[in-house]
Symmetry: C2
Subunit: 246 residues, 2 copies
Amino acid sequence: MTSDVAKRRYQEIAELLARRIAEEGYKPGDKFPTERQISLELGISRSLVREAFIVLEIEGYLDVRKGSGSYVADGEKISLNVQKADYGPFELLQARQLLESSIAGFAAQTITKSDIVHLRETLELERRAIENGEEDYAADRLFHLQIAEATQNSVLVAQVEDLWTKRENSSMWARLHDRIFDLSYRAKWLDDHAEILEALRHRNSDKAGQAMWQHLENVRRTLLELSDVGDPEFDGYLYTPARAAP
Amino acid sequence: MTSDVAKRRYQEIAELLARRIAEEGYKPGDKFPTERQISLELGISRSLVREAFIVLEIEGYLDVRKGSGSYVADGEKISLNVQKADYGPFELLQARQLLESSIAGFAAQTITKSDIVHLRETLELERRAIENGEEDYAADRLFHLQIAEATQNSVLVAQVEDLWTKRENSSMWARLHDRIFDLSYRAKWLDDHAEILEALRHRNSDKAGQAMWQHLENVRRTLLELSDVGDPEFDGYLYTPARAAP
DNA sequence: GAATGGAAACTGGTCAACCAATTTTATAAA
DNA sequence: TTTATAAAATTGGTTGACCAGTTTCCATTC
């Protein structure tokens, strides 16, 4: 009884078009191809394209005007919680550093024994995946999500999920993905995760936050080497989360 | 040149049907009338009804199954990228404390003179709004967003925007809203904002992070008094962000 | 040459008919 | 009676044709 999601056709088309908006340099106000043009291009009926346009309109990408055409929506009135812009991996990692290190520090205060058992299991999953040379990073994702879940704050969980979704939609990340998962960095990251878990187990907020920060810093530096892109703004900014319980 | 929103037909129908779901006692799993039934009942074409169903499906109300029919959706498996869950104000404030205090600390390192000018203008807007007794909190929102923008990281801006959107969708927040904006707490929050800005101006990461944390802590405690709801999990957890530039 | 009017060529909006998957029903076999 | 099977009815899925606003452009007029 798994959720066999037979994705509806209009959704596939909507995602295709959303990706096109994000990746082909459309700016707010730009005219988007007409329903007829796209239906011809994709070899499907116009109704189907129309349904996809409705999705894009609801999500705030498009502004549909009868008799005139469809236009890429103003950035301002984009439905804020659904925007799927294509963020660069460094912006994403920076955001994850700030958010997830705070979360790790907080989670150290709220984590339960059961949470720790689950995290240990996830770490084992990761170890086996690396051993078997699997490219799957589901366990990696799960580890980070479980830490957020340990805070028992669903908003924080949603925020972390959102960052992973953005990562998966990032075209630049997709380009780096293969090279990263071909290499042996994953073993290093497994060590990082183990260190984070150890800090959480000891309920050491400071250390947990610092370990998470350092982990994402390691990922960032690896990415930096692979992409040969400088990041002067962020280099040399060292973070030392410190917490004091009263 | 106001935005004369000629509401699209499918939207009207979707709202009509959403109201029907809400008011006619439909429960999760209940079968909803078929597209044909509704098109006959309303005297419109089935395509139009179908488009409205798509809206309801996206918004998480309906579960459409080919060959079978449409059913009122389970509350749980809401489409993830469109989830409009109703978060409680304390979860939201907790998330904002963790995220925004980190952001404030980071922004202190990246902020420009121009950013500070803009923040000062926003503070002035706030002051005038309070003076005139306006209930509008747009300036409040803008202040927090501008700090996120000062990091020059669009992911962080999106995260903060997302939290405000969730707040606006929060029904419990809506219930508290009037009571909060009737009272004189806003002057206190203006002082908090001024203190944050001062720390940013001096590029003091530690102080900026702490000031932001304290500000949201003040809001949280005010909310706590107004709603008479205990929050034992989070009470007594004191945060002291500390950063050290190398 | 500039302003005006209107036809023609777009655009999205709506519709009814047909297609395909699912569910239900009827029937026959065990 | 129970079960298996297939046909029929019902559902959403898809299509092409036509309707109704907008824009474009050209002939007309001043």
